[in-house]
């Protein structure tokens, strides 16, 4: 805090006046009620966490506060005055700005233009002055320690992490009173930069609403939390007074089992590897070799952009390697498309990174989404009925503890967590013996995570092989039998069994120490 002596009291008074408070918010989309009864109060200069499972109504609450949608009922006050923004711009005008989870940057405009939208500085003739846009954009980037980003670069061509930072910077620039950060760390491998920024804005008396699934982060930066469940605000608590277990219980509605996993010893080395990767290069990967044995869960740990995406896409048949070979069950495999990958040997099933754009088929039912790869198996003479689909999807859905009722719904109407469950169920339903899971629990709540972990373990115990990448190291620690740390497109270190520890992984993924364990 940089506030000095006598200014502090005055600042506190102002801060209290600037607090945002919402009561009894309700919002329904047609028949779907997204938010039933939500109350929340933000205090200026402090970071308030919003916790809840996917589909609890967090996004809707954010959209209401942002002015993107209007509530059906309830009231909001901002600094004591009624607050009912009719648009995003109106909300910004009142000092409330949001960094969205699904980034809201326009891909074909430049960084500077995105930062300044919609009020771009004008030059003579009333036209946009590209020079001033670039200057002002560069200024903003510099202010937030992002000088390395070219303000004239097209946003769509930047890596995801940089886009996330730009999104956050833009929100900060517009947040005079309230800053809303929706999953700001989803694409960020480390939080130092972000937390610096947050501390800077709270020092200026801005209230921050922080939404994240990562409780460790929340504990680090937030002082209070509101828990949403099923569209209701269940409780508001001071974080120092609540244990993780309490919070999980409020979120999920039951105690979460956090017992350490029992590692099954890897099978004898003599067996043929289910998947053998030899000297694979291309798409950011440089000469990577490893083998995956039956019954093994292999974790990949890496910072953003170390070639893990390329590896998965090449294995899934979505990208063509520059060099190298992939063997399945000992014989070379031609992976020309995901369909071919599914049908090579004992099969490779891929869970894509982006749930929305590569995963779900929004208009179709969850059951169809689950059984799509194996439709021909569940169809009699090419004819398939919705009932047959439900029956076929049932067993796989049960493995990820997905409520059967949801199978009949359009998957686009389900919460993110249930969508992810359906997608995992899909990889299980394919019957493939090897699963390629890219960040299987991205943006998923604690309860869903546990179900997914259980499903993965059960799959491995039945003799299946799993290779997964996770952006969260604890997940790797908890789930993997063996772990590869990628750095610069190469396997930098390998850990096995109890050697997989968070501290060791952190150094390895940064390219320090280690060597082959």
């Amino acid at each position: 805090m940089t506030a000095t002596g006598h200014g502090a009291a005055q600042a506190v008074a102002e801060q209290l006046a600037f607090a945002l408070s919402a009561a009894g918010l309700r919002k329904a989309y047609g028949a779907t009620v997204a938010l039933e009864q939500a109350d929340i109060t933000l205090t200026a200069g402090r970071v308030h966490a919003l916790l809840g499972e996917n589909g609890a109504g967090k996004s809707t609450l954010v959209r209401i506060l942002t002015g993107a949608v209007r509530p059906d009922a309830g009231t909001i006050t901002l600094g004591g005055a009624p607050y009912a923004p009719r648009s995003l711009i109106a909300a910004r005008g009142m000092g409330v700005a949001t960094a969205f989870q699904e980034l809201s940057l326009v891909p074909n405009l430049t960084v500077a233009q995105n930062l300044l939208l919609p009020d771009l500085p004008k030059g003579p003739l009333g036209l946009v002055s590209f020079r001033r846009v670039l200057e002002q954009g560069a200024d903003i980037l510099a202010r937030h320690g992002l000088q390395r980003i070219d303000p004239g670069a097209q946003v769509g061509l930047l890596p995801l992490a940089e886009r996330q930072r730009i999104e956050i910077v833009r929100a900060i620039e517009n947040a005079a009173r309230v800053l809303i950060l929706d999953e700001p760390t989803a694409a960020l491998a480390e939080t130092d930069w972000l937390f610096d920024r947050i501390r800077m804005v709270t020092a200026q008396g801005v209230a921050v609403l922080y939404i994240s699934h990562r409780l460790a982060e929340v504990r680090e930066i937030c002082s209070d939390a509101t828990v949403l469940r099923n569209g209701r605000s269940i409780a508001s608590v001071g974080l120092s007074q609540a244990s993780d277990g309490d919070i999980f219980e409020m979120m999920v509605g039951r105690r979460v089992d956090h017992s350490a996993r029992d590692r099954v010893g890897p099978p004898a080395d003599g067996s043929t590897p289910r998947l053998a990767v030899k000297g694979l290069s291309g798409h950011g990967l440089r000469d990577v070799s490893f083998a995956l044995r039956p019954g093994e869960v292999l974790g990949l740990a890496a910072l953003e952009g170390q070639g893990q995406r390329g590896l998965f896409r090449m294995l899934a048949g979505l990208a063509v390697p520059d060099a190298g070979q992939v063997e399945i069950d000992g014989s070379p495999a031609a992976l020309g498309s995901p369909r071919q990958a599914l049908r090579s040997g004992s099969g490779l099933a891929y869970l894509p990174e982006e749930r929305k754009t590569e995963g779900i088929l929004a208009g179709l039912s969850a059951a169809t989404n689950v059984v799509l790869p194996v439709l021909s198996g569940s169809a009699a003479a090419g004819v398939i009925t919705p009932q047959a689909e439900l029956r076929a999807a049932g067993p796989s859905a049960a493995k990820v503890e997905m409520t059967p009722r949801y199978l009949g719904f359009a998957i686009g109407d389900l919460s993110g967590g249930n969508q992810q469950k359906a997608l995992i169920a899909r990889t299980l339903a394919t019957g493939a013996k090897t699963l390629l899971l890219f960040d299987p629990t991205r943006g998923v709540d604690v309860g869903t995570k546990q179900s997914i972990y259980a499903a993965i373990r059960a799959f491995a115990q039945d003799g299946g092989s799993v290779i997964f990448y996770s952006s969260e190291l604890p997940e790797v620690v908890q789930l993997a039998d063996r772990c590869l740390a990628l750095y610069g497109g190469k396997v930098f270190a390998e850990f096995e069994g109890d050697a997989i520890a968070e501290q060791a992984l952190v150094t390895a993924i940064h390219g320090h120490g280690g060597g082959h364990a």
């Binding site: 329904a28 989309y29 047609g30 028949a31 779907t32 009620v33 997204a34 039933e36 009864q37 109350d39 109060t41 469940r229 099923n230 569209g231 209701r232 605000s233 269940i234 409780a235 508001s236 608590v237 309490d246 219980e249 409020m250 509605g253 039951r254 899934a316 979505l318 498309s337 995901p338 369909r339 599914l342 891929y350 894509p352 754009t357 590569e358 995963g359 779900i360 088929l361 929004a362 208009g363 179709l364 169809t368 989404n369 799509l372 790869p373 439709l375 021909s376 169809a379 090419g382 004819v383 398939i384 009925t385 719904f409 359009a410 109407d413 899909r426 394919t430």
Partner: protein, 337 residues
């Protein structure tokens, strides 16, 4: 609700929020059907002869062409494309049927399928161009249309010869089980079409690639084949319409398909499908096609100036579109919950 509660009590609270149940597709198909019936009934006000079973039969026979055609168009749109080559392909079917087969050729039983296969080839070329050469569907099919039309012009030297195959005449002119044959065939076609689109794995695949091509590919859908397939089916449907038209009017002309392009697209969108793909049913499309034909029949009976007729026709299309709007569906679903 900010006070702290006992987690156990909280845990008892279930998810009480409702969710959408009624399918949008059901509503749009039903709406279109209701509109058709209303139109036919109100037609009695115009002329007492309208609204009779006789007129319904006329509408169904005249609507035969558009229903078959817009089924193919509907599949293409469902898969995320658009087929502008229909007029030329209709003409291709008609011309080949008259010039290769002719009235009494005993080889009609294998020649007519060959004609359909040639039409399918046009669709195949379009599909390949779209998938492999990555030409946008709009441009690819438009170019194919120009190419096929010009090839036909050259092939016929401008004059289509020959007369309608007997089989085609039988299809359009005879009666079967007390109903005109085209009506019976139409019913069969709609049932088979429904089975294919809504109850077959290929239909599912088409919905999947129309919804999200990348996701469908990752899910293991054979995307290349499935992107090409609808163009082939659509071209075969168009060829079939060409043969049927020849049977109906006993001869082919080089411009016989021209009037069907926009109505085929209109039927699909009126039937509640998304022009962007991935949503819609063929029952809706059938309804849309019949609605348009009914409308044409009634307007033609009004004896108005052609300009005014056109204005009214356009307005009713617009009205149907407004009625089938997304927001209205949301409201309906809320009310009917």
């Amino acid at each position: 609700m900010t006070q702290k509660q006992d987690p156990q009590t909280l845990a008892q609270q279930g998810d009480t929020r409702g969710s959408a149940k009624l399918s949008r597709d059901t509503i749009s198909a039903a709406t279109v059907a209701v509109l058709c019936v209303l139109l036919l009934l109100s037609a009695r006000l115009v002329s007492p002869a309208l609204g009779s079973w006789n007129q319904v039969e006329t509408v169904l026979v005249l609507g035969f062409f558009l229903v078959v055609l817009s089924y193919g168009q509907g599949l293409v749109i469902l898969s995320g494309g658009l087929d502008l080559s229909l007029p030329a392909t209709i003409t291709l079917g008609g011309i080949l049927a008259t010039s290769w087969v002719g009235a009494t050729d005993p080889g009609a039983w294998y020649l007519l399928p060959v004609v359909l296969a040639v039409c399918g080839l046009v669709g195949l070329v379009s599909g390949i161009g779209i998938v492999w050469l990555r030409v946008p569907p709009f441009i690819m099919t438009m170019a194919m249309s120009i190419i096929v039309a010009s090839a036909l012009l050259g092939y016929t030297d401008g004059t289509p010869r020959g007369s309608a195959p007997d089989a085609a005449v039988w299809l359009m002119k005879s009666t079967f089980a007390g109903m005109p044959t085209p009506v019976s065939v139409l019913i069969g076609f709609v049932v088979v079409g429904w089975l294919f689109q809504s109850r077959s794995i290929w239909g599912r695949y088409l919905y999947a690639i129309g919804t999200n091509l990348d996701a469908a590919c990752i899910a293991g859908v054979p995307v290349v084949a499935m992107q090409i397939l609808p163009y082939v089916i659509s071209a075969i449907c168009a060829g079939f319409v060409g043969i049927a038209l020849v049977g109906y009017s006993s001869g082919a002309t080089l411009r016989m398909g021209d009037d069907y392009l926009l109505p085929s697209i209109a039927s699909v969108v009126i039937g509640g499908s998304s022009i962007l793909g991935g949503r819609g049913t063929n029952l809706g499309t059938v309804g849309g096609a019949i609605l348009l034909t009914t409308l044409g029949t009634i307007i033609s009976a009004l004896g108005m100036e052609f300009g005014l007729r056109t204005v009214i026709e356009g307005s009713i299309v617009l009205f149907a579109l407004l009625l089938l709007r997304e927001e209205l569906f949301q409201k309906l679903r809320t009310v009917w919950r």
